[in-house]
């Protein structure tokens, strides 16, 4: 299938900066997939995300959303409508005093007729499980709830891709779980393409594909089990690997599995 987002040899340097933030990134994201991008602070993963909806434009190279070149200013709204972006701090992306008014913000900007906005808002709030809170004031919600409202605000645009730039970095464990479960469900049940930028290893385990970034380049790309099995590489990058992988690696066993059960089975076999 044609990729939904395609990076072609993308380089990026901030106009006033000297260091190159992205150094030749090639990446294709397949529709309906759940892609996690893992990396340290300063690895360029947030910069990568901001290229996906034309907030940043490549210094050289191209980014395509479907067939649209992000550098084409006349297609800007079309690109941003297709690629919804959720950011780290929920407080700084909620624009209204009432949950449902906030969710309505994007479709209002797009000039959607009133009745359809109403339907989209209700549908989006149901998808993230925040429908009962539609009349609440956002500042009285918990972090995880606020972030789900932010996701609903993006879903109301009916995007094809959901890009989440460290959506859990400011949340407590409970909120983190809420957000990851919501996103995973959207991908598995609604077929939404999800790009999750994170530095929490645990959040990547459920993804279809894991991309590891370091110093502006992609250093590993594959299924989470494949990527995590490169234990030395991950350690060199200062990233964690799941406990199961670590145990299997130390025992010198094949590390193709992330599941606790099969890990236990492998160890039991070795002992026998």
């Amino acid at each position: 299938m044609d990729p939904i987002i395609r990076f072609e040899n993308v380089h990026f340097t901030y106009p006033e900066g000297e260091r190159e933030i992205l150094c030749g990134v090639d990446l294709s994201i397949a529709p309906g997939s759940f892609v996690a991008v893992l990396g340290h602070n300063g690895s360029g993963k947030s910069t990568l995300a901001k290229h996906m909806n034309a907030i940043l434009l490549p210094s050289s190279g191209k980014v395509f959303v479907r067939e649209l070149d992000t550098a084409d200013e006349t297609k800007l709204l079309d690109i941003r409508r297709r690629v919804g972006m959720v950011f780290q701090n929920p407080d700084n992306q909620i624009v209204a005093n009432v949950v449902e008014d906030d969710v309505a913000f994007a479709p209002e900007n797009l000039g959607v007729p009133s009745e359809e906005i109403r339907q989209r808002v209700d549908a989006a709030l149901r998808q993230v499980g925040m429908y009962e809170f539609r009349m609440h004031a956002p500042h009285l919600l918990s972090g995880g709830q606020k972030q789900r409202v932010a996701i609903a605000g993006v879903l109301a645009m009916e995007p094809e891709v959901l890009v989440l730039d460290e959506p859990t970095a400011m949340l407590d464990p409970q909120g983190r779980l809420e957000v990851i479960q919501t996103v995973t469900r959207l991908c598995r049940e609604k077929g939404m393409t999800v790009v999750l930028i994170t530095h929490h290893m645990e959040e990547c385990i459920g993804a279809d594909r894991l991309v590891v970034m370091s110093n502006g380049a992609i250093v590993a790309d594959g299924s989470p089990a494949e990527v995590f099995s490169q234990v030395e590489l991950m350690e060199r990058e200062g990233l964690d690997v799941p406990e199961t992988t670590r145990v299997l690696h130390e025992l010198g066993l094949p590390t193709e599995t992330l599941d606790t059960e099969s890990c236990a089975a492998l160890i039991a076999e070795k002992l026998r």
Binding site: K50, N53, I55, L77, R80, R81, G84, M85, F87, N89, D91, N92, Q93, I94, V95, A96, N97, V98, E100, D101, A104, F105, A106, P107, E108, N109, L110, G111, V112, P113, S114, I117, R118, V121, M135, A137, H139, G153, V154, M157
Partner: protein, 265 residues
Amino acid sequence: MLKDVTLGQYFPGNTVVHRLDPRTKILLLIFFIVALFTAKGWVGYGVMVLVTAASMAASHISPKNIFKGLKPMIFIIVFTAALNLFYTDGTPVLPGWPITWEGAARGAQMILRIILLIAGTFLLTYTTSPMALTDGMERLLSPLKKIGLPIHEITMMMSMALRFIPTLIEETDKIMSAQKARGADFENGNLLQRAKALLPILVPLFVSSFRRADELAVAMESRCYHGGSGRTRMKQLHFAPRDLWALLLGAVLVAGMFVLKHFGL
């Protein structure tokens, strides 16, 4: 202490007053203010008190909430009343006293006027969601777009400011606690020292506000915000028959006050 800021607060409800179009309510407030400043005698003030009380009853807003909002204004109210009390010519209450009967009456009327003014304004913000309020204002002011005033941008800024009041209050509380934990003292000292003590709160608050504004702008752009052109609304404003009646009542009130003024009541 910062928790009881009532500015821009909204009490959701489903009364007639809540259901009125925000444009009607803004116009009614203007009528109300005109009528209030037309009032001259005790009869006029009496009518205004009755009108305010009736509107409060109709919107199920308890006087307690209005008085809570009045608290920060007490100084101004007392100050204005005192000025009027001492600086009005007329018959002294007691021979040789600087206080006159006329002054006492003027002072009392001033207090009443300020209280009613604030109560009327609060009735508007308490019964209208900030979104509806700014939307109504945008529509009412839209003729000014013709002469090149950025009405959409102004009302958008207003609604953002209202949206961020609670967030910034929360943040101020947090910074205050952090500075207190490092030994900052906000309660003691003279006025100048206390004002100086606020500096370590204002600087981080400013810095973080700029960062917030930056992030908010990116988030808004990501949600396809591109100014006011081509924007639609989920909640459209409807001008119902009850709005017409309400405006008529408002006009009658203003006319009535002018008549009362004419007769010096």
